[in-house]
Symmetry: C2
Subunit: 267 residues, 2 copies
């Protein structure tokens, strides 16, 4: 397949290099990745500023295009402008640090895959549950197996796969588990500090204090040393709440002109 490869740790990160090396053995790979680390940018896109693109070499040979934007920008720019012929699949990673539970929402790695799905391409995000992994082979192997399945079965339009790999040697990975986004609760706080010019600044810090231990939750699959595979979509509607909201009487007040006759704002 023709693979568009990106990430959020930046084009010079180890994880994207390991994935590139694994992918080129079987696929045609084009890299468009952020020039600098873009962790926790979520689904940010850039339109107030222009984007710039630079060729990047690794080990003396052309490796890919470094883009000044976010992971979602990289995918959008690649597909709308830079990469022809178009890719068959978008792959994002390997991210350092798991993207499970609520972190899925903050993740630039996942948002790159989501952007691929929005634009109509099958997409895979892959992360490893470590900030200093000794070995990427379980992750690269998982991606190759999943790409083989995508080639065989396809993915419905708008769906991407969020893959998380436990931080154990490949031989100790117990297999794959299809999961849903689990619950993860952080105890967060801000370190209040004072800079050398006596001005206050705040730095986010936090620890996970509670994780969901249902076996079908992404967080628990990782804890059980399984590769977690979660299908992801981008409709944020809370469908169960739709019906309940209809009993709030908001719609009942409807009627041409009579709803907003008495605006509450008095300036």
């Amino acid at each position: 397949m023709r693979v568009l490869l990106t990430n959020d740790d930046g084009i010079f990160a180890k994880g994207i290099e390991a994935l590139y090396e694994a992918l080129i053995a079987e696929h045609d790979v084009v890299v468009v990745a952020p020039e600098t680390e873009q962790s926790a940018v979520g689904h940010a896109i850039t339109f107030l500023d222009p984007l710039r693109v630079k060729p990047v070499k690794r080990n003396g040979a052309f490796f890919g295009h470094a883009c000044s934007g976010t992971p979602a920008d990289c995918v959008k720019l690649a597909i709308r402008e830079l990469v022809r012929p178009l890719p068959d699949v978008v792959v994002s990673g390997i991210n350092l640090g798991a993207n499970v539970g609520i972190n899925v929402l903050y993740s630039g790695t996942v948002s790159a895959a989501t952007e691929g799905a929005i634009l109509g391409f099958p997409a895979v995000a892959v992360s490893i549950d470590s900030f200093e992994p000794s070995d990427f082979s379980a992750a690269t192997d998982a991606v190759l197996r999943i790409l083989e399945r995508i080639e065989r079965f396809g993915l419905p339009r708008g769906v991407s796969l969020n893959v998380n790999v436990p931080n154990v040697p490949a031989s100790q990975v117990r297999g794959m588990r299809v999961t849903r986004q689990g619950r993860l609760t952080y105890q967060e706080s801000y370190d209040r500090r004072v800079d050398p010019r006596n001005r206050v600044y705040y730095w986010l810090t936090g620890n996970i204090v509670e994780t969901e231990n249902s076996p079908d939750a992404d967080v628990q699959a990782l804890a059980d040393h399984y590769v977690s595979v979660t299908p992801i979509q981008h409709d944020l509607t809370h469908y169960a709440m739709l019906e309940e909201l209809k009993h709030w009487g908001l719609e009942a007040e409807s009627g041409p002109g009579d709803f907003f006759l008495a605006p509450a704002q008095s300036k």
Copy 2:
């Protein structure tokens, strides 16, 4: 109620001022909003850099705290550190430009409300379908009515409301409609330009080419001149796809040690 008010157009924007003026007539309001415009930042949060906070005056009186981060940062910092007693509800807006369809995902306005919901607070995002609105009264009136309902009925933990207001005079608003996130298709491209130093840059541009015209879609409610109210959540799992993925045979290959015995990566 005690309202934490934020936005993504920045603390000096007109929309947040109009909403502040309307809210203080009935509620206790504390403003923590981005120092600068943060459109399309999605659910970005800042942890690689510190955040700074400055008091901001408007018309000679204290208006609120300007924060150097994103809308989600503002809510997190407010709730975890700055604002005591804690708010009863988080309100984000009034954004210039509708946040319907896929734009919900890119929206900093919506992500501020989502962050409030993640942290356990009821939350409302409000946007107006215009970049140059002449009148915010339909939007402020809608927010006040919705806050009254939230006070009466509550919102389940993790749910926020995404409110979009049509760009018509308040007397022409036809009422409110409870909606789901609709489909919106953009024809996007990048303008390829050359800077004065002869370097290429790309600027995102695009037009909506197709919108979903089902009456329960947020996009259509706006087009019909209704205020659209969509319940939003942050579980991105595609539940229908979960079952299908289980037939991909990925899990069947599971078993201690035998799945990853032959890593595909050969470096």
